[in-house]
């Protein structure tokens, strides 16, 4: 019998499995980025993501990246792995939903984060799968939804409407709405009017994908990759400009400035061993200083929130910054929300500590429109989730730096682009998060959108899932040099794309 007629070997079968599964995984990621079929679609995609990640496990279980995971990695990962549970389940979500839907919603949310994060890790561990394809999935989904929404927005409002019609209102259901403060958002298969900051979340994140082009400082890139990144980031940036949203544009420039500095440092770092040590040391110091400042700021804010809920407060007395803490001001809203989280008030107005609320989120269906997502999660999910989230953010920064320093030349654009998306999302949501975005939601629930109120928690959104995917995609164990991964051809990693007959 000729070799060609022989039954496929285990290696070939696994290769085909890898090809099919990675294709499906990329599809799932693309659909998540697109927000396909709204809240209902996301629920299905979360489940699908987890299933595909489980199916992919045998294919990457022998990869060096996976095998390099040691106990230390697991210890470091543990807070990240339990964070989804605290994001999924909280007193706040119990207060806004009934028993069974609370359990199902929490479970799907938690599983979704773990599944999509694992999917990111596994996809980027398949060495024969070109990173271009993964990026194509992410950027394809994002670009498509942003482009469709952008075109529809242009048709509806025209270019530069936020400037041209600043101060103008329209009437809907007898209620006044400021047109310059809203944008179009594709909710399932229906366009709805949403807060402009919320509507521009995906365009902003997409615009940050152009950071992948900074890898041109290090080596030449395939023309297709350059074109793809340029088009994707261009669509996002044009959406911001044609709206226009000045604060978002400034934030975008800030993100690119930070990315540029990071690329410049990496360039210096690559020059010599001495430079490497210097840069690593400098970054470490900056990292620790930043972490210390954040923790100090959070500590002061919590103390001030406690004082504010008792009628006091000291931060409002600080020159220049104090006005942000005055009654009704931006930071004051956060302090009031934290006060609501920490204390219970009886009928006589006496306050007492509410430990359940403190740890697991506000025991109330009252929603504060806090613009900083970290504090929104503090309010909705409690202090445990908040500190786990802070850990996740700093761990992500650390792992991002590790990935940037250890990445092979051929994958550098991928790490740059993925980190650009994640950093863009982080900055945008830290400045412009909106949990009550819908202007006039449908009074009748649609099949694909169950929003009878305008509450859209970030933890239930596709943006949060994208962040989880980005983390998984750039995660490297402590003891791993990716160059080794390329050097060691492992059978199951040889997932060449081939035509697959359905009966095989």
């Amino acid at each position: 019998m000729k070799d060609n007629d022989a039954k496929p070997t285990l290696m070939q079968t696994e290769s085909k499995q890898g090809a099919v599964l990675s294709f499906l995984a990329i599809e799932v990621v693309a659909l998540i980025c697109f927000g396909f079929a709204g809240a209902t679609g996301l629920t299905i995609l979360r489940a699908a993501g987890l299933c595909i990640a489980l199916f992919l496990y045998p294919l990457i279980s022998n990869s060096l990246r996976f095998k390099s995971i040691r106990k230390k990695d697991l210890y470091l990962l543990l807070p990240v792995l339990i964070l989804p549970l605290f994001l999924g389940f909280s007193m706040f979500h119990l207060a806004i939903s009934s028993g069974l839907s609370f359990v199902l919603d929490g479970l799907v949310t938690a599983i979704g984060f773990l599944g999509i994060g694992a999917l990111g890790f596994m996809l980027s561990s398949l060495d024969k799968l070109k990173k271009e394809w993964i990026l194509l999935g992410v950027l394809g989904g994002l670009t498509l939804v942003v482009l469709i929404t952008f075109m529809y927005s242009l048709c509806s409002y025209g270019p530069f409407y936020a400037s041209i019609y600043a101060g103008d209102v329209y009437y809907y259901d007898g209620v006044v709405f400021h047109i310059a403060q809203e944008g179009k958002y594709l909710d399932g298969f229906t366009f709805v009017e949403a807060d402009i900051k919320f509507a521009l979340t995906l365009p902003f994140i997409l615009a940050c994908s152009g950071i992948g082009l900074l890898s041109l400082f290090f080596q030449k890139l395939d023309k297709k990759v350059i074109a793809g990144l340029s088009v994707a980031s261009g669509v996002g940036a044009l959406n911001l400009i044609f709206t226009p949203h000045l604060k978002a544009i400034i934030a975008l420039l800030l993100v690119y400035a930070v990315a540029f500095v990071a690329a410049w440092l990496l360039k210096i770092r690559a020059k010599s061993e001495e430079a490497r040590k210097k840069v690593d040391k400098g970054v470490m110091i900056a990292f620790l200083v930043l972490a210390a400042l954040v923790l100090l700021g959070v500590f002061l804010l919590i103390i001030d929130s406690i004082l504010v809920s008792g009628g006091g407060g000291f931060l409002r007395k600080i020159p220049l910054l104090g006005r942000y803490f005055e009654d009704g001001a931006f930071m004051n809203r956060i302090e009031v929300a934290i006060g609501e989280l920490i204390f219970n008030y009886d009928n006589a107005g006496r306050r007492s500590l509410d430990f359940a609320s403190l740890l697991f989120g506000a025991n109330s269906n009252l929603v504060y429109d806090i613009r900083i997502f970290e504090f929104q999660i503090l309010y909705q999910n409690g202090f445990i989730a908040f500190f786990l989230l802070l850990y996740f953010i700093f761990f992500f920064v650390y792992k991002g730096y590790v990935a940037l320093t250890k990445v092979t030349d051929q994958d550098r654009f991928f790490v740059f682009a993925i980190l650009g998306l994640a950093f863009g999302g982080f900055i945008y949501l830290s400045l412009f998060d909106s949990e009550l975005p819908l202007k006039h939601p449908s009074e009748i629930d649609g099949i694909f959108s169950t929003h009878s109120t305008n509450l859209l928690p970030l933890t239930r959104s596709n943006v949060a899932l994208l962040m989880a995917f980005c983390f998984g995609a750039i995660y490297l164990p402590e003891k791993l040099d990716p160059a080794q991964v390329v050097a060691v051809p492992i059978a199951v990693q040889s997932a060449d794309y081939q035509e697959v007959k359905i009966d095989e």
Binding site: L154, V169, I179
Partner: protein, 306 residues
């Protein structure tokens, strides 16, 4: 290449569907009463020929108005007369009575909220036009179709302020079927007798427009309601449901594509010294005091639209 360029330019050429009816943020909420007048007529309505098809009085088979008692300003409110004459108009799906108030689920002045909890509970929310056709949700006049029949402390946000010339609008769809027409309203004046008020008598003309046989020309059929007694300046919450059956007005509702409303009013404000002042319904004329019709809701309940 040119085709591709044309396609790319398409969104820029088509722009503006949502910007056709914009207003300055302070439009119609001026502290000065007369500045809030709405007197727009959609194209073709003023020029349309009109025929008076019925003149109705406040009686059975005429028009219904508020409580049916108009001795004091505080009497002029609600829907009791209509309910007395047409009890079946005010039943919910379970045979119970639909309430007049609370007319909205009110999270705050000018805040949009889901009103579905009031469906089949409250008359105006159950019967509002925006439930029958989505087109009624859009535009300034959507405040006449949203089920809010009382002020609820919303001030001028809740109502359309008309002077004698009234207003005219084309509906977003064509009416196929309907039993009766109703509107919630009260009088309003810049006279300084707030919380005391007076009973004012209005003659209100309502014109329904249909397309003539050429399908282009609009023709109007007018129903005149004589001596409609409404309270003025007593309370923004005291509004009356006024209306009539299409059959009593000799109007076939099918094919109606628009309506207009105008009025006259002989009203006098008596000041604290006992001096009488004649008020004017012409907001463009020179006068110390003006009176207008504060329109809060327009209803064609249980109707079908094309």
């Amino acid at each position: 290449m040119n085709k591709k360029l044309s396609l790319l330019a398409l969104p820029f050429l088509l722009f503006g569907c949502d910007t056709t009816e914009l207003y300055p943020g302070d439009a119609y909420i001026d502290p000065e009463f007369v500045n809030n007048r709405y007197n727009a007529y959609d194209e073709g309505l003023k020029e349309a020929s009109k025929t008076v098809v019925a003149t109705l009085n406040n009686e059975e088979n005429g028009y219904f108005n508020g409580s049916g008692v108009y001795e004091q300003p505080s009497d002029c409110r609600g829907y009791n007369q209509a309910k007395q004459w047409h009890p079946d108009y005010f039943k919910n799906s379970k045979g119970g009575d639909l309430r007049w108030e609370p007319d909205i689920d009110n999270p705050g002045v000018g805040v949009w909220s889901d009103q579905s909890s009031l469906y089949d509970v409250v008359y105006s929310q159950t019967k509002k036009l925006s439930r029958l056709h989505d087109g009624f949700r859009k535009g300034y006049l959507s405040k006449l179709y949203n089920g809010q029949v009382r002020c609820n402390a919303w001030g001028f946000y809740s109502l359309v302020c008309l002077d004698g010339d009234g207003y005219g609008t084309k509906f977003p769809a064509e009416l196929l079927e309907g039993d009766y027409f109703a509107f919630a309203c009260r009088g309003g004046s810049n006279s300084p007798d707030g919380n005391v008020g007076r009973v004012s008598t209005f003659d209100i003309n309502i014109t329904f427009y249909k397309f003539a046989s050429d399908l282009e020309t609009l023709v109007g059929e007018t129903v005149s309601l004589l001596n409609v007694k409404l309270q003025t300046n007593y309370s923004a919450e005291a509004t009356s449901l006024v209306g009539f059956d299409f059959a009593d007005a000799n109007i076939d509702p099918s094919g109606i594509v628009g309506m207009s409303m105008d009025f006259t009013c002989e009203d006098t404000y008596v000041d604290s010294d006992g001096v009488s002042h004649v008020t004017s319904t012409d907001f463009d004329s020179e006068s110390d005091y003006y009176i207008g019709l504060m329109l809060l809701e327009v209803l064609i309940p249980d109707s079908r639209w094309n």
